[in-house]
Symmetry: C2
Amino acid sequence: MAERKKKEEAPAAATVKRAPRKLDGLDQKTLKLIEGTADRVRTKIDGRALPELKFPTRALSNVKYDAKVGYFELGRGQTARALSVNTVKSFAQTLRLMAISKEMVENNDFATKREAYYVSKNWGDCKFNEQVESDTVMDDIEALASLEGLSREQLRYYPEEHGGSVAGELVVIDTDAETGRPIEIDCTGFGSGSYSIPHSVEHLGFKTDAKFVLAIETGGMFQRLNNHKYWKAAKCILVETAGVPTRATRRFIRRLADDKKIPVYAFVDCDPYGIANIYRTLKVGSGNAAHINRFFCVPQAQYLGVTPQDIHDFKLQDATHKLLEVDVKRAKDALKNDPFFVAHKPWIRAIEQMLSMGVRAEQQALAKWGLNFVIEEYLPRKLKEKKFLP
Amino acid sequence: MAERKKKEEAPAAATVKRAPRKLDGLDQKTLKLIEGTADRVRTKIDGRALPELKFPTRALSNVKYDAKVGYFELGRGQTARALSVNTVKSFAQTLRLMAISKEMVENNDFATKREAYYVSKNWGDCKFNEQVESDTVMDDIEALASLEGLSREQLRYYPEEHGGSVAGELVVIDTDAETGRPIEIDCTGFGSGSYSIPHSVEHLGFKTDAKFVLAIETGGMFQRLNNHKYWKAAKCILVETAGVPTRATRRFIRRLADDKKIPVYAFVDCDPYGIANIYRTLKVGSGNAAHINRFFCVPQAQYLGVTPQDIHDFKLQDATHKLLEVDVKRAKDALKNDPFFVAHKPWIRAIEQMLSMGVRAEQQALAKWGLNFVIEEYLPRKLKEKKFLP
């Protein structure tokens, strides 16, 4: 009896058998990159020469902007790291991180940047002392892979955060880890809840007849549109960005929009943060991470609102807030220094209009006309007029 | 042809017909509270007397702590607000907000606190000038409702943020807004993604055979356990809190654990923030919001790890970080001033052990022994030993 009790209390087997890994084209490419790099190092060593690793230079000096491409790109500058007494540790660490990447691709596993740092604690003298060291090495590897069209997620190093909720006319196709069979996730079936985007979306497929993706800044607005099934009435897909969208959320929208050729409309607060941080990051990426923009920006995004002109058109004046000093600074900085805004006259006019009005308006300010004014009046009118900012 | 083209481009109808609202017991109770309050005011006015509204006093002086109850509770102190020249505006605002609440219950709608503030912009002289004003009035109403066992969500005022992802052996039962029929959301079916908890969870039902709920601090750890289907091997439900859990996440775990009588284990970083902020907020709520703790704390939660003793037991010493000054301050403050820790000797010992070691350890530090050590060794051993902190 005591024996039996013990058995019952023992924890269930802790692991589930996982399906053997089928490597897809991008996985093959990832392995080729890693093996090619390792081979070159090995050949040099076998030939008694000093091996070197070459990485794209990650600095503003090596960034180019082409309005047609639509985002900041990495230039051709390269930095070589030859094996020497001074570089031996980071040289070894780089190869180690790439070796783990190979293993993870083969085993269909992943690591966060933080986990990668901790894994190194078992490397003896080669271990990282601070995470900033492993992050730097990883950024180099990421930049290298980006030249081959491979993202860090493809190397199986996932970001720590995900976030981003989805509801509406979309079926996400994922793979069951245990059986290897495709599974379909119907984003119309979550009721008042929603689908939470995973940390990496590279493996996902999509089925949809939606006419557009609506990227929404605030949780409250997302919940309103979802609870009222706005996605059904307007035949669209709702994505909550919850402020500046994470890598996973941006990549999800990008892959979906590319794959299904549907437009993306951003619905954010009318303030310098909503425009110059949330929207701009979604659309063109950020300047100090040029090597990842090609994966993570959504060049097809357009700005639906709230626009400074909306404050007039929808009589929201008494539901606005005064621009703070930091808002004014951010707006002026965008006008002066940001190649994206500088390249688009309609944006210059809109930001100047906001500065001259001296106020900002949140998307929820539309509730002044009733909680569901946004559904019944605002969005239909904006979508009909189609006067989006670029 | 032009006509036809135009028709195609016109936006779809913006609204979906919603099912007529079936009021449940809590809705009836909410309406009774609002109507009762309004009736009392009306009767006084009809009798040419000055009406008054009474609210529980929301201050530390009106808080009681009973270790058996397990969370800070509101005392019997009341504050009366009689109608006068000075109070007429907030008096009217209070009644207005309660009137909107009634309307929302009847129409199955909701508003965020921010939306409620904006709605007032159409109230003429009665409007709120700043959101802090409407928040204060709403806190009073919330405290009043809490005495009847009604949360703010029941009044249909939802928090702005939600967050909280769920995966594993759980079927969530929601209601289709359009048809009014129940829908089942199977949290084993989302692949590498997950179920995102809505802003309010009062209306949800649950079906599960899970043995426990595992509340996980970090997104990276949640993704690992989900990708490896740990929830299947261990027959459990995974909930990602992403730091300090939101109201919606706490309420979700609480309702699930109450309803299904299953234990809740917290798996967080071993540092004063993980212990004294994340875990304590989950378990007993917070001191300055005593009127909501009865809904939002999870008194059945236990602390699985990472514990200071785990740093020894799993040889994580070289994967720790030094406690910062702010960590030491927070830990000492918990030992001295926090009635929850003060009431539990095992916690005093654990926190003192952490202070004497002078280090903290993240849950991902377990990756030192391999990425999946946490699944294959750590969690099974902890669950078998069942030596949880209270």
